[in-house]
Structures are given as structure tokens and as C-alpha cells.
Symmetry: D2
Subunit: 146 residues, 4 copies
DNA sequence: TTTT
DNA sequence: TTTT
């Protein structure tokens, strides 16, 4: 208790989001996000790019696939999570990810049109801006999207 | 440009900070920080603890050694940085750290008295609260503490 | 769209939360929160205290009344909202508030026991830590309180 | 001590920054910033815009005048400050402002060219991206820009 | 007074 | 692997 674990990122997607379905119905999307810093080294400006592994669950994963594309600028709020896994040699490794709580597309209106995703898109669907600033509710922790 | 990489943590130190001196004068301190979340699994409350590797440079490293101790509750602002290194088998590995920009002790006044550190403490020293909310200025990027 | 309005505060309550009930059932709680900064003026350390009006709605209001008390240290996330109102002379005035999205008690375990509130407390109730880091769900966006 | 007062905004400038010079040399700039939220009221999408008074000091004020213009999208980090003043009738009023610590232009490259400002521009000057993510150091609190 |  |  008495703790806070919060990450705020604004950066560009390095790839389109990839989505997987756990147990056939729980969506998990992920993508790499780049943030950059500039500093001077011997009088020359040098860019240092940091790559973040962003992971999104359930309804937020579906929204990511629909609205986010490689190259887009996005604001992300989430938390840090370090997973343990075994590599091919059976050695314990760590991977740190940003588990998103919400995201927010930044940029021009034309950037906000939904993109084709792996899932067949519902016919007659309208892009709904208010959906994009979706905040996932996992209070009940029931494994279901809502 | 046009990017933001910000981490905000409130958690407890898992160990006293460790300090090293690069090239004999640049200080680098680090410590593990725990944040926890509670969720319900099959009706029981389960605590999930996340461990973060916090790294502090120069004057901020010196302050960390002076004011922070295992078990203390601290607010930290910083950025994510993933380092690449080779493990013993020569395989490329990644380690994600939080590079602190500032920290802020939370808790009772008695927690704010400086602790003994590796460096000999200056005699007659007064704990200076305003030092603790130190914000490092590395705009000039000269590799020096100030 | 494409906008972010976020406030993060760690400070002490200046008073116990006050709660009101709109239309008999929607809870609204509020309290003043103090944050302080220290700076040097002519060699003397000066404390500058900032007072924030924190407002909480619905379930979060009920939790605030239950867990927060004058003097407690609390982490708050929320958004800025400036209300317009007319003062006694009929002149239009502005009041800026922090509308909380979540809060998190900081401090010792003994601080986390629920306090008596205006509402009769439910018998046999156990303080539930996980309730305190409540995040309000307004996903459905139906204009109704829940 | 033990307190945090942080505001994070992404929004559009409602006007060009205005700059004043205190005592002839300390710069203070300010501008209104809009953030918006969308919600459904009776089946219609309604936009609610929040206006923030952003204030910048010294070197940051000069950068704001140079790089920010009405309509631009900007990321701002700062703190809340409520000023007291007397209105024309001699009544004590409050005005809450966001005192910026840093800002970051968001958007297309063409948005990052410096704009004409009230001050005569230095000849031969190159727009320097790294200047834009300037973080003011007012640790020493000497009233001078650096 | 911004933007979508 | 992004972007400027």
C-alpha cells in the first residue's frame, strides 16, 4: 500500500500494434514506442532514442489496434511491470513493459481515423473520439473487458 | 523532439543506496524500490510487488546516500532508460532503470535526519530539508555535478 | 481531443473532508490540501504553502470521508476544473478545484484505519486497503452518476 | 516538506504568449491554454473546455515567446499557484495559475520554427530544438535567469 | 480564447 | 523499429 507506479509517455509508435487473444477472448496488444532526447556531445547535437514496450489489455487493446499505427504520436499513461521469463537456454530473464491505463492520440484530425485491424471491422461503424481516451476499469479484476 | 518520458513512483527502498564513483569523481547511486498493488484472486486479497531499479547521478546520488535508507518511503520523478549489456555468456541483455530527476522523502520528520553514508559526514551538519527536493540541472551536460 | 489535464499532489489535509448529497444521493466531498515549498530569502529558509481545493464525487467521496482526516498525508491524482459562480454582489467569480480521480493514503499503517464519518458506519466492516486506491469508472459516459 | 505539486497539461494555446519585464529584466510570459473533454449528454456528444492560465518565468518566458503561438499544441509541466489580489472594489480575490517548469511543442516540424516576438530577434539565430525542452533551474533563487 |  |  501507500505506493504509486505511474508512467507518462509521449512518443511515436515504431510499429503497428500487434494483437493476440488469450484463451480465445482476452485481447492483448503491444507495440514499441520511441521517445527521444537531445544532448550536446563535443559541440554536436546527438539524439538518444529510448524504446518502450507498451502493452494494452482487453478493450484498450482493441482500441489500440483500431486507432494507432506505426509513426503516430501518442500520449500514454500506465504503469511499469517487469516480467520474468526463461530464455531458450533456460536462464531467467527480465523484460520491463509499460502496461497502459489509457492513451490519447496527438496530432492532426486526419490521424484519428480508425485503421484496418486484424479483426473484421463492424459495418457502419463511426469513429468515436471519446472512445480513444478510454480508461480501463479493472477494479473488479474479473478477466472480462468490462 | 515532441516526446515525453516520465516516471512517477512512490514506494519503499528495498536496500540502502549503493554509491560508486566513476573516474574517481562522478557519483552514481542506485537502489531497488518496491511498489505494490492489491487485487482479488478467488476472493482473497493478493499483493503484487513491483521492483524498480532507481539510478541517481552526481549531486542527486550524494543526497540519496545521505537521506535515503532501506525501508523509507520516497517519491521519485525520473525517466526510463534501458541499458544494453553483455552477460557472462556474451549474450546481449537489457536492463531497464529509472534515472531519477528528483526525489522527495515522505513520512515523519524523524525520517528526515541524514543517515551515515560511505563518505565521511561533515561535522556539525544540519539536515537541510530544501536539499532533499533537489532537482538536478544537467542542461549544460558537462559531466560535472553542477 | 488530443488533450491532457492532470494534477498530481502529495500533501496534508487541512481539514476533515466535508460531504454533501446532491439530489439526496450523489455524494460530493471536498477538503483543502496543503503542499509546501522551501526557498531561501536573504539567507533564511522560507516555507511557502499552497492550498488546493480537492473535490471528490460519488464512491470516491464516500471513501474520502471514511479514510481521510485532517493532517493525513495523501497522494491525489485528478484534473483541474475552474467553476464560475456569482458572488453576493452578483459579480462573476472563478474558483479552481482539483477534481480527484483517485487517491492513495501515505504514511504508517495505523493511519489507514477508517474514521467515523457523517454516515452511520456499517457494522462489522473491515478496512479494505484495496478500496483506498479506488479509481472511478466513468467509462459508460451516460451522464448519470454511475 | 514531503509534498508534491505537479500539473501536466497537453492543450492548445488560446492566444499568443504575452511577455512583461519586471524591474526591466526579469521576463514573465503568460498565455491561456485549452484542454477539452468529451462526454455524452442525452445521446449527444458535448465538449467541455477547460481554460488554464499558464505563467512562465525568465528564460522559459523568452522561449515561450519565441516558439509558442496561438493554436499550437504543447505539453506543459508545472505547479499550481494561487495568487491573491484585490479587485477594483478592494475585495480579496484568488487567481489560480500553472507556473511552468518546462514545455515541449507537439506537432509537425513546421510548427517548430521560431515566431516573431516582441523582442528584436538576434540575427543569424538558428532554432535549437534542444532549447525547447528547457528545464528552468531556480534552485539558487537569485532572481536571475540562470 | 484553442482544437477536433 | 518511430519521429524531428
Amino acid at each position: 500500500m501507500a505506493s504509486v507506479n505511474k508512467v507518462i509517455l509521449v512518443g511515436h509508435l515504431g510499429k503497428d500494434p500487434e494483437i493476440r487473444y488469450l484463451d480465445g477472448n482476452v485481447s492483448v496488444a503491444s507495440f514499441p514506442l520511441a521517445t527521444s532526447e537531445f544532448y550536446n556531445k563535443d559541440g554536436k547535437k546527438v539524439e538518444q532514442t529510448e524504446w518502450h514496450n507498451v502493452v494494452l489489455w482487453r478493450a484498450l487493446a482493441d482500441l489500440a489496434v483500431k486507432y494507432l499505427k506505426k509513426g503516430k504520436l501518442v500520449y500514454i499513461e500506465g504503469k511499469l511491470r517487469t516480467r520474468t521469463y526463461e530464455d531458450k537456454e533456460g536462464i531467467r530473464r527480465f523484460a520491463t513493459e509499460i502496461v497502459a491505463d489509457s492513451f490519447n492520440l496527438l496530432g492532426r484530425r486526419s490521424d484519428f481515423e480508425p485503421q484496418n485491424s486484424g479483426k473484421p471491422s463492424e459495418s457502419g461503424e463511426q469513429p468515436e473520439e471519446s472512445k480513444v481516451d478510454f480508461r480501463e476499469n479493472d477494479d473488479d479484476n474479473d478477466g472480462l473487458p468490462f
